[in-house]
Protein backbone atom coordinates (compact mmCIF):
# COMPACT_ATOMS: atom_id res chain seq x y z
CA UNK A 1 0.00 0.00 0.00
CA UNK A 2 1.17 3.51 -0.76
CA UNK A 3 -1.78 5.56 0.42
CA UNK A 4 -1.00 8.13 3.08
CA UNK A 5 -3.27 10.47 4.99
CA UNK A 6 -0.60 12.48 6.77
CA UNK A 7 2.35 14.28 5.29
CA UNK A 8 5.31 15.58 7.27
CA UNK A 9 8.13 17.83 6.22
CA UNK A 10 11.32 17.73 8.28
CA UNK A 11 14.05 20.24 7.56
CA UNK A 12 17.39 21.16 9.03
CA UNK A 13 18.97 24.58 8.59
CA UNK A 14 22.63 24.96 7.75
CA UNK A 15 24.77 25.94 10.70
CA UNK A 16 26.08 29.20 9.33
CA UNK A 17 25.54 32.87 10.01
CA UNK A 18 22.21 34.09 8.68
CA UNK A 19 21.28 30.49 7.81
CA UNK A 20 18.01 30.77 9.71
CA UNK A 21 14.84 32.47 8.58
CA UNK A 22 11.47 33.64 9.76
CA UNK A 23 10.02 33.52 6.26
CA UNK A 24 7.21 31.06 5.74
CA UNK A 25 7.64 27.94 3.65
CA UNK A 26 5.51 26.75 0.77
CA UNK A 27 5.26 23.09 -0.16
CA UNK A 28 3.66 21.95 -3.39
CA UNK A 29 2.98 18.38 -4.37
CA UNK A 30 1.91 18.01 -7.97
CA UNK A 31 0.54 14.86 -9.52
CA UNK A 32 -0.12 14.86 -13.25
CA UNK A 33 -0.60 18.64 -13.47
CA UNK A 34 -2.76 18.92 -10.35
CA UNK A 35 -1.42 20.53 -7.21
CA UNK A 36 -2.76 18.04 -4.70
CA UNK A 37 -1.04 20.05 -1.99
CA UNK A 38 -0.16 23.74 -1.91
CA UNK A 39 0.56 24.35 1.74
CA UNK A 40 2.11 27.28 3.59
CA UNK A 41 3.93 26.88 6.88
CA UNK A 42 4.92 29.54 9.39
CA UNK A 43 8.43 28.92 10.63
CA UNK A 44 11.09 30.68 12.67
CA UNK A 45 14.37 28.84 12.41
CA UNK A 46 17.77 29.73 13.80
CA UNK A 47 21.01 28.55 12.21
CA UNK A 48 21.51 24.83 12.61
CA UNK A 49 17.94 24.37 13.79
CA UNK A 50 15.51 21.72 12.57
CA UNK A 51 11.75 21.66 12.44
CA UNK A 52 9.05 19.15 11.74
CA UNK A 53 5.99 20.45 9.91
CA UNK A 54 2.89 18.86 8.54
CA UNK A 55 -0.23 17.07 9.51
CA UNK A 56 -3.29 15.56 7.87
CA UNK A 57 -3.26 15.56 4.08
CA UNK A 58 -6.31 17.21 2.50
CA UNK A 59 -6.92 14.08 0.48
CA UNK A 60 -5.19 10.77 0.56
CA UNK A 61 -1.88 10.62 -1.25
CA UNK A 62 -0.93 7.71 -3.45
CA UNK A 63 2.85 7.89 -3.41
CA UNK A 64 3.03 5.68 -6.48
CA UNK A 65 1.78 8.66 -8.50
CA UNK A 66 4.62 10.93 -7.44
CA UNK A 67 7.49 11.69 -9.80
CA UNK A 68 10.81 13.38 -9.26
CA UNK A 69 9.23 16.64 -10.39
CA UNK A 70 6.24 16.44 -8.06
CA UNK A 71 7.59 18.00 -4.89
CA UNK A 72 8.89 21.57 -4.53
CA UNK A 73 9.73 23.58 -1.47
CA UNK A 74 9.53 27.36 -1.68
CA UNK A 75 9.75 30.37 0.55
CA UNK A 76 7.27 33.15 1.14
CA UNK A 77 9.50 35.95 2.37
CA UNK A 78 12.77 37.79 1.83
CA UNK A 79 14.46 36.57 5.00
CA UNK A 80 16.75 34.11 3.24
CA UNK A 81 16.87 30.53 4.49
CA UNK A 82 19.76 28.13 4.04
CA UNK A 83 18.45 24.59 4.14
CA UNK A 84 20.85 21.73 4.73
CA UNK A 85 18.56 18.72 4.68
CA UNK A 86 14.92 18.19 3.75
CA UNK A 87 12.83 15.06 4.18
CA UNK A 88 9.21 14.59 3.19
CA UNK A 89 7.50 11.53 4.59
CA UNK A 90 4.02 10.08 4.64
CA UNK A 91 2.05 8.41 7.37
CA UNK A 92 -0.95 6.15 7.28
CA UNK A 93 -2.38 6.42 10.76
CA UNK A 94 -4.79 3.51 10.74
CA UNK A 95 -2.24 1.12 9.28
CA UNK A 96 0.57 2.64 11.35
CA UNK A 97 2.66 2.86 8.21
CA UNK A 98 5.51 5.24 7.55
CA UNK A 99 7.41 5.98 4.35
CA UNK A 100 10.04 8.49 3.33
CA UNK A 101 8.90 10.07 0.07
CA UNK A 102 11.43 12.69 -0.98
CA UNK A 103 14.71 13.90 0.36
CA UNK A 104 17.57 16.29 -0.29
CA UNK A 105 20.71 16.49 1.80
CA UNK A 106 23.75 18.73 2.07
CA UNK A 107 22.09 21.52 0.15
CA UNK A 108 24.00 24.66 -0.71
CA UNK A 109 21.34 26.92 -2.20
CA UNK A 110 19.45 29.59 -0.32
CA UNK A 111 15.75 30.21 -0.65
CA UNK A 112 14.44 33.77 -0.68
CA UNK A 113 11.75 35.71 -2.51
CA UNK A 114 14.26 38.44 -3.30
CA UNK A 115 15.95 37.13 -6.44
CA UNK A 116 19.34 38.59 -5.51
CA UNK A 117 19.92 36.16 -2.68
CA UNK A 118 18.32 32.86 -3.49
CA UNK A 119 15.92 30.71 -5.35
CA UNK A 120 12.18 30.97 -4.99
CA UNK A 121 11.62 27.22 -4.94
CA UNK A 122 13.62 24.03 -5.23
CA UNK A 123 12.80 20.46 -6.21
CA UNK A 124 12.84 17.68 -3.65
CA UNK A 125 13.64 14.38 -5.36
CA UNK A 126 11.94 11.14 -4.49
CA UNK A 127 13.66 8.45 -2.47
CA UNK A 128 12.98 4.76 -2.61
CA UNK A 129 11.44 3.11 0.44
CA UNK A 130 13.88 0.23 0.30
CA UNK A 131 12.94 -3.11 1.80
CA UNK A 132 13.56 -5.16 4.91
CA UNK A 133 16.75 -6.41 3.33
CA UNK A 134 18.13 -2.98 2.43
CA UNK A 135 21.49 -2.51 4.08
CA UNK A 136 21.33 0.39 6.53
CA UNK A 137 24.55 2.30 7.09
CA UNK A 138 23.16 5.35 8.91
CA UNK A 139 19.98 6.21 10.70
CA UNK A 140 18.14 9.49 10.91
CA UNK A 141 16.40 10.27 14.18
CA UNK A 142 13.80 13.01 14.04
CA UNK A 143 12.34 13.85 17.40
CA UNK A 144 10.60 16.81 18.92
CA UNK A 145 9.94 17.78 22.49
CA UNK A 146 6.49 18.68 23.69
CA UNK A 147 5.75 22.19 24.93
CA UNK A 148 3.42 22.47 27.92
CA UNK A 149 2.40 25.42 30.07
CA UNK A 150 4.37 25.68 33.30
CA UNK A 151 6.05 22.33 32.66
CA UNK A 152 9.75 21.73 32.13
CA UNK A 153 9.49 19.21 29.34
CA UNK A 154 12.96 19.78 27.92
CA UNK A 155 16.13 18.14 29.11
CA UNK A 156 19.81 18.79 29.41
CA UNK A 157 20.47 15.11 29.95
CA UNK A 158 21.98 13.24 27.01
CA UNK A 159 19.92 10.61 25.28
CA UNK A 160 21.21 7.46 23.65
CA UNK A 161 19.97 5.33 20.80
CA UNK A 162 20.82 1.66 20.68
CA UNK A 163 20.04 -0.68 17.80
CA UNK A 164 20.56 -4.41 17.90
CA UNK A 165 20.27 -6.53 14.78
CA UNK A 166 20.86 -10.21 14.18
CA UNK A 167 21.96 -10.60 17.77
CA UNK A 168 24.62 -7.91 17.49
CA UNK A 169 24.91 -4.37 18.71
CA UNK A 170 25.06 -2.36 15.49
CA UNK A 171 24.55 1.19 16.71
CA UNK A 172 25.08 2.87 20.05
CA UNK A 173 25.18 6.63 19.95
CA UNK A 174 24.84 9.26 22.62
CA UNK A 175 23.30 12.55 21.55
CA UNK A 176 24.35 15.69 23.36
CA UNK A 177 25.54 19.20 22.57
CA UNK A 178 24.97 19.41 18.85
CA UNK A 179 24.67 22.79 17.07
CA UNK A 180 20.91 22.39 17.34
CA UNK A 181 18.84 23.41 20.35
CA UNK A 182 18.95 19.85 21.66
CA UNK A 183 15.76 18.47 23.16
CA UNK A 184 14.32 21.87 24.03
CA UNK A 185 10.63 22.40 24.60
CA UNK A 186 8.71 22.98 21.39
CA UNK A 187 11.77 22.29 19.26
CA UNK A 188 12.50 19.58 16.71
CA UNK A 189 15.79 17.81 16.25
CA UNK A 190 17.40 16.10 13.29
CA UNK A 191 20.09 13.63 14.28
CA UNK A 192 21.98 11.56 11.68
CA UNK A 193 23.78 8.69 13.40
CA UNK A 194 26.30 6.32 11.88
CA UNK A 195 25.85 2.60 12.35
CA UNK A 196 28.93 0.82 13.64
CA UNK A 197 27.90 -2.22 11.66
CA UNK A 198 25.61 -2.06 8.63
CA UNK A 199 22.35 -3.88 9.31
CA UNK A 200 18.92 -4.55 7.87
CA UNK A 201 15.45 -3.96 9.12
CA UNK A 202 14.83 -7.69 8.90
CA UNK A 203 17.75 -8.30 11.25
CA UNK A 204 16.27 -5.91 13.76
CA UNK A 205 12.93 -7.68 13.59
CA UNK A 206 14.46 -11.17 13.72
CA UNK A 207 16.80 -10.87 16.63
CA UNK A 208 17.24 -7.32 17.74
CA UNK A 209 15.52 -4.19 18.88
CA UNK A 210 15.70 -0.45 19.20
CA UNK A 211 16.15 1.20 22.55
CA UNK A 212 16.04 4.87 23.44
CA UNK A 213 17.41 5.80 26.84
CA UNK A 214 18.07 8.94 28.78
CA UNK A 215 21.35 9.23 30.64
CA UNK A 216 20.46 11.70 33.32
CA UNK A 217 17.73 12.74 35.71
CA UNK A 218 16.63 15.91 33.92
CA UNK A 219 13.26 14.54 32.87
CA UNK A 220 12.27 14.80 29.21
CA UNK A 221 8.95 14.47 27.46
CA UNK A 222 9.09 13.90 23.70
CA UNK A 223 6.13 14.60 21.45
CA UNK A 224 6.88 12.68 18.24
CA UNK A 225 9.70 10.43 17.11
CA UNK A 226 10.57 9.00 13.71
CA UNK A 227 13.54 6.83 12.82
CA UNK A 228 14.71 6.05 9.32
CA UNK A 229 17.52 3.85 8.02
CA UNK A 230 19.65 5.31 5.23
CA UNK A 231 21.25 3.15 2.59
CA UNK A 232 24.30 5.32 1.94
CA UNK A 233 27.09 6.00 4.42
CA UNK A 234 27.34 9.60 3.23
CA UNK A 235 25.51 11.98 0.92
CA UNK A 236 21.96 11.75 -0.31
CA UNK A 237 20.47 8.32 0.25
CA UNK A 238 18.63 6.70 -2.62
CA UNK A 239 16.83 4.36 -0.24
CA UNK A 240 15.34 5.33 3.10
CA UNK A 241 13.93 2.52 5.22
CA UNK A 242 11.23 3.17 7.80
CA UNK A 243 12.17 1.94 11.28
CA UNK A 244 10.11 3.71 13.93
CA UNK A 245 6.98 5.86 13.67
CA UNK A 246 5.61 7.51 16.78
CA UNK A 247 3.46 10.43 15.61
CA UNK A 248 2.06 10.48 19.15
CA UNK A 249 4.65 9.66 21.80
CA UNK A 250 3.17 6.85 23.92
CA UNK A 251 5.83 6.38 26.56
CA UNK A 252 5.38 9.43 28.77
CA UNK A 253 8.31 11.04 30.56
CA UNK A 254 11.87 9.76 30.39
CA UNK A 255 14.40 10.13 33.18
CA UNK A 256 17.11 8.10 34.84
CA UNK A 257 15.23 8.92 38.03
CA UNK A 258 12.54 6.28 37.88
CA UNK A 259 10.26 8.40 40.07
CA UNK A 260 10.13 10.92 37.22
CA UNK A 261 10.04 8.70 34.17
CA UNK A 262 11.36 5.70 32.34
CA UNK A 263 15.12 5.47 31.92
CA UNK A 264 14.69 3.62 28.63
CA UNK A 265 11.97 2.56 26.22
CA UNK A 266 11.84 -0.05 23.51
CA UNK A 267 10.77 1.41 20.17
CA UNK A 268 8.65 -0.85 18.00
CA UNK A 269 9.66 -1.27 14.39
CA UNK A 270 6.97 0.16 12.15
CA UNK A 271 5.35 -1.65 9.25
CA UNK A 272 6.37 -0.68 5.72
Amino acid sequence: MSIFDNLHLAVRTRNLDDGGSSSGFNLTVNVDATDILDKNFSVDLEKGEATLLGGPFPETLDSNLLTNTSVRLGIRGDDAWSPQDVLLFGLAFERNELAALAMETELTDNLRTDDREGKLTMPIRLVDRGSSSTLIRRVLLIVDTIWQHFTDTETDSPIELEIRAGGNLVLLQEIANTPQPDLEAGKSNWYPLDAGVPFTRADVLANGGITLRIKGDDAWKPMRLFLFGLYTATGRPNEVVSLVSLPVWPHGWMSSDTKEGKPSVELDVVSM
Binding site: T28, N30, G74
Partner: protein, 284 residues
Amino acid sequence: MALVDDLILVAKTRDEEDAGTDNQHNLTVTIDGVDFFNLDFPFGGGQGDGLGRGETGYQENDFLGAIGPTPWWVATPFESNDLTQSSIRLGIRGDDAWAPHHVLLIGRVPPEWSPGRSVPLAIETDLANWLSTDPDEGHLTMRMRLVGQGNGATLIRRVLLVVYTSRQDNADTESDVQLQIAAGGSIVMTHKITHGFGRGKAYLHFLDVDTPFTRDDIESDGIDLSILGADAWLPGAIFVFGLDTESGRPNEMVTLVAIRSWGLGWLSTDDDEGKSSVPLPLSI
Protein backbone atom coordinates in the same frame (compact mmCIF):
# COMPACT_ATOMS: atom_id res chain seq x y z
CA MET B 1 13.01 13.73 -30.01
CA ALA B 2 12.91 17.51 -29.65
CA LEU B 3 15.75 19.27 -27.91
CA VAL B 4 14.67 22.66 -26.59
CA ASP B 5 17.42 25.24 -26.32
CA ASP B 6 15.52 28.38 -25.50
CA LEU B 7 12.15 29.55 -24.34
CA ILE B 8 9.57 32.25 -24.81
CA LEU B 9 7.02 32.97 -22.14
CA VAL B 10 3.89 34.93 -23.03
CA ALA B 11 1.54 35.91 -20.23
CA LYS B 12 -1.56 38.05 -20.28
CA THR B 13 -2.80 39.73 -17.12
CA ARG B 14 -6.49 39.68 -16.28
CA ASP B 15 -8.37 42.88 -16.92
CA GLU B 16 -9.49 43.51 -13.39
CA GLU B 17 -8.60 45.81 -10.54
CA ASP B 18 -5.10 45.34 -9.06
CA ALA B 19 -4.41 42.49 -11.48
CA GLY B 20 -1.08 43.90 -12.61
CA THR B 21 2.22 43.61 -10.79
CA ASP B 22 5.64 45.22 -10.64
CA ASN B 23 7.21 42.07 -9.24
CA GLN B 24 9.54 39.78 -11.07
CA HIS B 25 8.38 36.34 -12.12
CA ASN B 26 10.14 33.01 -11.79
CA LEU B 27 9.95 30.12 -14.23
CA THR B 28 11.22 26.64 -13.45
CA VAL B 29 11.48 23.73 -15.83
CA THR B 30 12.25 20.54 -13.97
CA ILE B 31 13.02 17.13 -15.40
CA ASP B 32 13.40 14.14 -13.14
CA GLY B 33 14.08 16.27 -10.08
CA VAL B 34 16.61 18.58 -11.75
CA ASP B 35 15.87 22.22 -12.55
CA PHE B 36 17.02 22.61 -16.13
CA PHE B 37 15.72 26.15 -16.11
CA ASN B 38 15.20 28.40 -13.11
CA LEU B 39 15.10 32.05 -14.02
CA ASP B 40 13.76 35.25 -12.56
CA PHE B 41 12.68 37.89 -14.99
CA PRO B 42 10.79 41.16 -15.15
CA PHE B 43 8.06 41.20 -17.75
CA GLY B 44 8.65 44.91 -17.95
CA GLY B 45 12.10 44.20 -19.33
CA GLY B 46 13.93 45.59 -16.34
CA GLN B 47 12.54 49.05 -17.03
CA GLY B 48 10.53 48.92 -13.82
CA ASP B 49 7.24 49.25 -15.63
CA GLY B 50 5.93 45.82 -14.66
CA LEU B 51 2.96 44.13 -16.19
CA GLY B 52 -0.22 46.17 -16.04
CA ARG B 53 -3.86 45.22 -15.86
CA GLY B 54 -4.92 43.54 -19.10
CA GLU B 55 -1.39 43.73 -20.50
CA THR B 56 0.55 40.92 -22.12
CA GLY B 57 4.15 40.21 -21.27
CA TYR B 58 6.62 38.62 -23.68
CA GLN B 59 9.97 37.22 -22.64
CA GLU B 60 12.51 35.48 -24.79
CA ASN B 61 16.20 35.31 -25.36
CA ASP B 62 17.95 37.64 -27.74
CA PHE B 63 19.85 34.98 -29.61
CA LEU B 64 18.26 35.87 -32.91
CA GLY B 65 18.21 39.60 -32.72
CA ALA B 66 17.61 41.30 -29.43
CA ILE B 67 13.85 41.22 -29.60
CA GLY B 68 13.18 40.41 -26.03
CA PRO B 69 14.47 42.52 -23.20
CA THR B 70 16.29 39.79 -21.29
CA PRO B 71 18.63 37.03 -22.37
CA TRP B 72 16.87 33.74 -21.93
CA TRP B 73 19.09 30.91 -22.88
CA VAL B 74 18.48 27.49 -21.53
CA ALA B 75 21.80 26.68 -19.92
CA THR B 76 21.31 22.99 -20.53
CA PRO B 77 19.04 22.13 -23.45
CA PHE B 78 16.39 19.65 -22.47
CA GLU B 79 14.45 16.98 -24.26
CA SER B 80 10.82 18.06 -24.51
CA ASN B 81 9.69 14.46 -24.40
CA ASP B 82 11.14 14.25 -20.89
CA LEU B 83 8.79 16.94 -19.59
CA THR B 84 5.94 15.79 -17.40
CA GLN B 85 2.77 17.55 -16.33
CA SER B 86 4.60 18.54 -13.13
CA SER B 87 7.67 19.98 -14.84
CA ILE B 88 6.78 23.61 -15.47
CA ARG B 89 5.91 26.14 -12.79
CA LEU B 90 5.53 29.89 -12.88
CA GLY B 91 6.02 31.85 -9.67
CA ILE B 92 6.30 35.40 -8.44
CA ARG B 93 9.06 37.08 -6.46
CA GLY B 94 7.11 39.65 -4.47
CA ASP B 95 3.89 40.52 -2.71
CA ASP B 96 2.44 42.74 -5.43
CA ALA B 97 -0.15 40.14 -6.33
CA TRP B 98 -0.58 39.25 -10.01
CA ALA B 99 -3.69 37.90 -11.67
CA PRO B 100 -2.73 35.88 -14.77
CA HIS B 101 -5.31 35.33 -17.48
CA HIS B 102 -3.45 33.25 -20.05
CA VAL B 103 0.10 31.88 -19.93
CA LEU B 104 1.94 30.23 -22.82
CA LEU B 105 5.42 28.72 -22.90
CA ILE B 106 7.06 28.24 -26.29
CA GLY B 107 10.28 26.36 -26.88
CA ARG B 108 12.73 26.59 -29.73
CA VAL B 109 13.84 23.33 -31.21
CA PRO B 110 17.04 23.83 -33.18
CA PRO B 111 17.43 21.79 -36.34
CA GLU B 112 20.82 20.95 -37.68
CA TRP B 113 20.73 24.25 -39.49
CA SER B 114 19.11 27.46 -38.24
CA PRO B 115 16.59 29.01 -37.85
CA GLY B 116 14.98 26.18 -35.93
CA ARG B 117 11.33 25.82 -35.17
CA SER B 118 9.16 26.94 -32.32
CA VAL B 119 6.84 24.56 -30.53
CA PRO B 120 4.26 25.20 -27.85
CA LEU B 121 5.25 23.45 -24.64
CA ALA B 122 2.65 24.43 -22.05
CA ILE B 123 -0.39 26.63 -21.77
CA GLU B 124 -2.95 27.69 -19.21
CA THR B 125 -5.96 29.77 -20.20
CA ASP B 126 -8.82 31.55 -18.49
CA LEU B 127 -7.07 31.46 -15.14
CA ALA B 128 -8.76 32.69 -12.00
CA ASN B 129 -5.92 32.38 -9.49
CA TRP B 130 -3.53 34.97 -8.07
CA LEU B 131 0.19 34.73 -7.51
CA SER B 132 1.92 36.47 -4.61
CA THR B 133 4.56 35.75 -2.02
CA ASP B 134 1.99 36.91 0.55
CA PRO B 135 0.06 33.75 1.49
CA ASP B 136 -3.05 35.83 2.12
CA GLU B 137 -3.05 37.06 -1.46
CA GLY B 138 -2.22 34.12 -3.65
CA HIS B 139 -0.22 31.06 -4.54
CA LEU B 140 3.55 31.27 -4.60
CA THR B 141 3.75 29.30 -7.84
CA MET B 142 1.39 27.67 -10.30
CA ARG B 143 1.80 24.71 -12.58
CA MET B 144 1.60 24.97 -16.33
CA ARG B 145 0.25 21.94 -18.09
CA LEU B 146 1.87 20.57 -21.20
CA VAL B 147 0.11 20.96 -24.51
CA GLY B 148 0.28 18.64 -27.49
CA GLN B 149 1.87 19.91 -30.68
CA GLY B 150 -0.68 18.41 -33.04
CA ASN B 151 0.18 17.69 -36.66
CA GLY B 152 -0.77 18.67 -40.16
CA ALA B 153 -4.10 16.88 -39.89
CA THR B 154 -5.19 18.35 -36.55
CA LEU B 155 -8.51 20.13 -36.99
CA ILE B 156 -8.05 23.77 -36.06
CA ARG B 157 -11.09 25.42 -34.51
CA ARG B 158 -9.46 28.59 -33.17
CA VAL B 159 -6.29 30.54 -33.72
CA LEU B 160 -3.99 32.04 -31.12
CA LEU B 161 -2.13 35.12 -32.32
CA VAL B 162 0.86 36.43 -30.37
CA VAL B 163 2.34 39.71 -31.53
CA TYR B 164 5.31 41.57 -30.17
CA THR B 165 5.98 45.01 -31.65
CA SER B 166 9.57 45.98 -32.28
CA ARG B 167 11.33 48.29 -29.88
CA GLN B 168 12.66 50.42 -32.71
CA ASP B 169 11.68 54.08 -32.78
CA ASN B 170 8.20 54.65 -34.23
CA ALA B 171 7.54 50.91 -34.50
CA ASP B 172 4.13 51.39 -32.89
CA THR B 173 0.94 51.99 -34.84
CA GLU B 174 -2.60 53.15 -34.32
CA SER B 175 -3.67 51.57 -37.60
CA ASP B 176 -5.90 48.51 -37.60
CA VAL B 177 -4.30 45.21 -38.49
CA GLN B 178 -5.91 42.20 -40.14
CA LEU B 179 -5.01 38.53 -40.10
CA GLN B 180 -6.52 36.32 -42.77
CA ILE B 181 -6.11 32.60 -43.41
CA ALA B 182 -7.02 30.75 -46.59
CA ALA B 183 -7.28 26.97 -46.54
CA GLY B 184 -8.86 24.38 -48.80
CA GLY B 185 -9.74 26.97 -51.43
CA SER B 186 -11.60 29.39 -49.22
CA ILE B 187 -11.06 32.04 -46.59
CA VAL B 188 -11.46 30.31 -43.25
CA MET B 189 -10.66 33.23 -40.98
CA THR B 190 -10.50 37.00 -41.17
CA HIS B 191 -9.94 39.12 -38.10
CA LYS B 192 -9.36 42.80 -37.72
CA ILE B 193 -7.53 44.01 -34.64
CA THR B 194 -8.29 47.57 -33.76
CA HIS B 195 -6.48 48.35 -30.54
CA GLY B 196 -3.23 49.60 -32.00
CA PHE B 197 0.18 48.13 -31.23
CA GLY B 198 2.51 49.86 -28.79
CA ARG B 199 6.27 49.88 -29.24
CA GLY B 200 7.89 47.03 -27.34
CA LYS B 201 4.47 45.73 -26.29
CA ALA B 202 3.02 42.25 -26.66
CA TYR B 203 -0.51 41.17 -27.47
CA LEU B 204 -2.30 37.87 -27.32
CA HIS B 205 -5.57 37.13 -29.09
CA PHE B 206 -7.74 34.05 -29.36
CA LEU B 207 -9.47 34.27 -32.75
CA ASP B 208 -12.46 32.21 -33.85
CA VAL B 209 -12.37 30.64 -37.30
CA ASP B 210 -15.26 30.65 -39.74
CA THR B 211 -14.54 27.11 -40.90
CA PRO B 212 -12.35 24.55 -39.11
CA PHE B 213 -9.28 23.68 -41.14
CA THR B 214 -6.00 21.84 -40.93
CA ARG B 215 -2.45 23.00 -41.36
CA ASP B 216 -2.13 20.76 -44.41
CA ASP B 217 -5.09 22.61 -45.99
CA ILE B 218 -3.38 25.99 -45.81
CA GLU B 219 -2.42 27.22 -49.23
CA SER B 220 0.84 28.75 -50.27
CA ASP B 221 0.87 32.32 -48.96
CA GLY B 222 -2.40 31.42 -47.26
CA ILE B 223 -1.74 33.40 -44.09
CA ASP B 224 -1.82 37.09 -44.72
CA LEU B 225 -1.07 39.96 -42.37
CA SER B 226 -2.32 43.36 -43.49
CA ILE B 227 -2.31 46.83 -42.12
CA LEU B 228 -5.38 48.95 -42.79
CA GLY B 229 -3.94 52.40 -42.27
CA ALA B 230 -0.97 54.64 -43.02
CA ASP B 231 0.49 54.70 -39.51
CA ALA B 232 3.46 52.45 -40.19
CA TRP B 233 4.05 49.43 -37.96
CA LEU B 234 7.12 47.29 -37.41
CA PRO B 235 6.43 43.98 -35.72
CA GLY B 236 9.19 42.31 -33.74
CA ALA B 237 7.82 38.80 -33.51
CA ILE B 238 4.64 37.04 -34.58
CA PHE B 239 3.32 33.61 -33.71
CA VAL B 240 0.16 32.00 -35.02
CA PHE B 241 -1.00 28.73 -33.50
CA GLY B 242 -3.97 26.61 -34.49
CA LEU B 243 -5.95 25.31 -31.52
CA ASP B 244 -7.99 22.13 -31.49
CA THR B 245 -10.69 23.41 -29.13
CA GLU B 246 -13.40 25.99 -29.82
CA SER B 247 -13.11 27.40 -26.32
CA GLY B 248 -11.16 26.94 -23.14
CA ARG B 249 -7.76 25.38 -22.86
CA PRO B 250 -6.50 23.65 -25.99
CA ASN B 251 -5.22 20.10 -25.89
CA GLU B 252 -3.21 20.55 -29.06
CA MET B 253 -1.62 23.59 -30.61
CA VAL B 254 -0.31 23.46 -34.15
CA THR B 255 2.42 25.94 -34.96
CA LEU B 256 1.41 27.82 -38.11
CA VAL B 257 3.66 30.86 -38.01
CA ALA B 258 6.70 31.39 -35.80
CA ILE B 259 8.64 34.52 -36.61
CA ARG B 260 10.90 35.29 -33.70
CA SER B 261 12.86 37.99 -35.46
CA TRP B 262 10.74 39.89 -37.90
CA GLY B 263 12.46 40.48 -41.19
CA LEU B 264 9.52 41.28 -43.46
CA GLY B 265 9.82 45.04 -43.19
CA TRP B 266 7.47 47.82 -42.19
CA LEU B 267 3.74 47.62 -42.78
CA SER B 268 1.75 50.61 -43.95
CA THR B 269 -0.83 51.48 -46.57
CA ASP B 270 1.48 54.33 -47.47
CA ASP B 271 3.73 52.81 -50.13
CA ASP B 272 6.56 55.09 -49.10
CA GLU B 273 6.55 53.67 -45.59
CA GLY B 274 5.96 49.97 -46.11
CA LYS B 275 3.94 47.17 -47.56
CA SER B 276 0.22 47.02 -46.93
CA SER B 277 0.30 43.27 -46.47
CA VAL B 278 2.73 40.39 -46.23
CA PRO B 279 2.19 36.65 -46.47
CA LEU B 280 3.39 34.99 -43.31
CA PRO B 281 5.55 31.93 -43.98
CA LEU B 282 4.26 28.66 -42.63
CA SER B 283 6.41 27.42 -39.81
CA ILE B 284 8.76 24.55 -40.62
